[in-house]
């Protein structure tokens, strides 16, 4: 702000600034608010000509959609309770696996010298240039024909366990772990497994958290791969997609599904906001 600004100019400027920031925040938050509100609204309130959006009249609200969605299997087997369970299992296993496998590779790439180590690193980084859809068909073939993984957790999880960006992110962080520490542990007779478990993993906790939250969201929200690979093993985003069948006739149950899909990630974001931001930005700045 220029010193030349008169007081009223400065006030106008400030007001405009806040006005813009606040109105954009409202635009960003409103659809989320609407999702939660609609999931509690009666069908009449949802289809009312005058949108109900701040009413405190209890007649406008109901738990009915939650009871319907959680209580019984809906059309085409979209049982949201099962889907929530499936999504939880899939996300936890896939995220845990991704973290473990990436951290193991990153440890070697950061702390070991061997012939061709840079070649391996570049080979890993280069895979980031291959968009997922290009390898989708062979992946499907490998998983279904060779692994017999159609409609299984294993088939869902295994192809997604590799994350080149994640390996690179972890490796860059692990470079900063002092070698002296590892040497001291080696002199004490620690093998690689002990060093990895008791030194590398705890010291990399912040960056593991950053990669973990991104991986968590990526897996939980994944739509295309689960859609292709599963028939009965429905995950939440696929269940949301299948709701097209009943869709616009009744938004209430659909919004319950949306709430079930969105809420865990919103909570995870609020809890681990710092790590989420760190994960997203460090991937970019390193470019």
């Amino acid at each position: 702000m220029d010193a030349r600004f008169h007081r009223w100019q400065r006030t106008t400027y400030r007001t405009l600034l806040y006005l813009t920031i606040v109105s954009v925040a409202v635009v960003m938050a409103f659809p989320v608010y609407w999702m939660y509100l609609t999931s509690f609204k009666t069908d009449e309130a949802i289809s009312a000509a005058e949108p109900v959006w701040l009413s405190v009249d209890p007649n406008h609200y109901t738990f009915g959609h939650y009871k319907a969605v959680l209580g019984q299997a809906m059309t085409t087997g979209d049982d949201f309770l099962t889907a929530t369970f499936n999504s939880t299992v899939y996300t936890i296993l896939a995220t845990g696996g991704t973290l473990l496998i990436s951290a193991m590779a990153a440890y070697v790439l950061a702390k070991k010298r061997f012939r061709g180590d840079m070649l391996v690193l570049y080979g890993i980084i280069a895979t980031m240039m291959i968009p997922a859809p290009v390898v989708m068909i062979p992946t499907f073939w490998i998983v279904v024909d060779l692994m017999r993984g159609y409609d299984t957790f294993g088939g869902l999880i295994v192809p997604g366990l590799t994350n080149a960006a994640g390996i690179f992110l972890l490796r860059q962080y692990m470079l900063s772990i002092p070698d002296d520490l590892l040497d001291a542990a080696k002199i004490d007779g620690c093998g690689d497994i002990r060093i990895f478990l008791t030194l590398i993993l705890p010291l990399s906790a912040p960056i593991l958290a950053a990669l973990g939250i991104l991986s968590l969201m990526g897996h939980w929200n994944a739509l295309i791969w689960p859609l292709i690979l599963t028939k009965d093993l429905t995950l939440l985003p696929v269940a949301m997609l299948n709701l097209r069948e009943i869709g616009s006739q009744s938004f209430g149950p659909v919004m319950v599904g949306a709430v079930l899909t969105a809420t865990p990630m919103i909570l995870a974001f609020l809890v681990a906001r710092r790590y989420f931001i760190r994960g997203l930005t460090s991937g970019a700045i390193k470019m």
Binding site: D2, Y18, T20, I21, A25, V27, M28, P31, V32, M35, I46, I101, S102, M104, A105, V108, G123, T127, M129, I130, P131, A132, P133, V134, V135, I137, P138, T139, F140, W141, I142, V158, P159, L161, F196, M217, N221, L223, I224, P237, V238, M240, L241, L243, R244, E245, I246, G247, S248, M255, A258, T261, A262, M265, F269, R273, I277, A284, I285, M287
Partner: protein, 282 residues
């Protein structure tokens, strides 16, 4: 077994899972995609070598080329919107607003949602406000741009803010002493220094835009297959998905996805060149 050999072996064991997965599911699959694009390949019957037939068919597949035009339009609007709105909001947030954390949280919130949720919530909102944009073949794609912008604007802002924090504040002070006002400082200092950030955002945005698919799937009217009114929302991945998994023409799908891959690669390279040139001039 001496120490060195043991060390080598354990290094290999630590690397193996990641390498194996990457070699099989990235490099192997890329090669496999290329190979089966020359075959009449499906998982039900014997595959047959057919040379360039899949590519020749692709050349005449008008809907595919139109779908590329659709995503190109989407990409331009989405990236331009994200770059401009993101920059403005990042600058405003940077201007030392109070409650910064609160606003950042609200701005980044949509980022954590699944496209399935985003598409549904917007279908609801548009239906309630009686805005028929998604049923109008001329404007349906703009509806999708709107959703994607709402969904991902936080990412643009986030990356801009990270870039802004690396701009040396001394530059602003010098410019201020020289009498440059806020807008001039933003245009002459911030924007040029953010060029690498802008390049990064437009390249990643473009790669993502050409893979637009999830939202389109959810938007399709119930009971019908996706593609929007008069096919206005037909995107390359939708057609590839249809050919591959609905019509079981996997070789053809592979050829189409390779064409898409090459197009994305070319545009990325041109963008990179263009970005570097622009940087070299200043």
């Amino acid at each position: 077994m001496n120490y060195r050999t043991r060390d080598k072996l354990s290094s290999l064991a630590f690397l193996l899972p990641a390498l194996l997965l990457l070699v099989v599911f990235r490099y192997g699959s890329l090669v496999f995609t290329s190979v089966i694009s020359f075959f009449d390949f499906n998982m039900l019957s014997e595959s047959r070598f057919i040379g360039f037939a899949n590519y020749l068919r692709a050349a005449e597949y008008d809907r595919f080329w139109w779908s590329l035009a659709h995503v190109a339009r989407y990409a331009v609007e989405y990236i331009a919107g994200g770059l401009i709105l993101g920059l403005i909001l990042a600058l405003l947030l940077e201007a030392k607003a109070r409650f910064l954390v609160l606003f950042q949280t609200l701005y980044f919130l949509p980022l954590v949602l699944s496209v399935a949720v985003v598409a549904w919530v917007f279908r609801l909102l548009l239906a309630e406000m009686q805005i028929g944009i998604l049923n109008d073949p001329r404007w349906a794609m703009e509806g999708v741009v709107l959703m994607s912008l709402w969904h991902n604007l936080g990412y643009f802002i986030l990356i801009y803010i990270a870039g802004l924090s690396s701009v040396d504040p001394v530059l602003y002070e010098v410019a201020q002493i020289d009498g440059a006002n806020y807008l001039r400082r933003a245009w002459h200092i911030t924007v040029p220094l953010l060029r690498p950030v802008i390049l990064f955002l437009s390249i990643t945005g473009l790669i993502g835009a050409f893979q637009l698919f999830g939202i389109i799937l959810v938007l399709s009217p119930y009971g019908e297959s996706a593609g929007g009114p008069e096919g206005a929302l037909e995107v390359p991945l939708l057609l590839i998905y249809r050919q591959t998994f609905e019509y079981q023409k996997m070789g053809y799908g592979a050829a189409l996805s390779l064409i898409l891959f090459v197009i994305i690669l070319l545009i990325t390279l041109i963008q990179g060149k263009f970005g570097r040139l622009a940087r070299g001039v200043t």
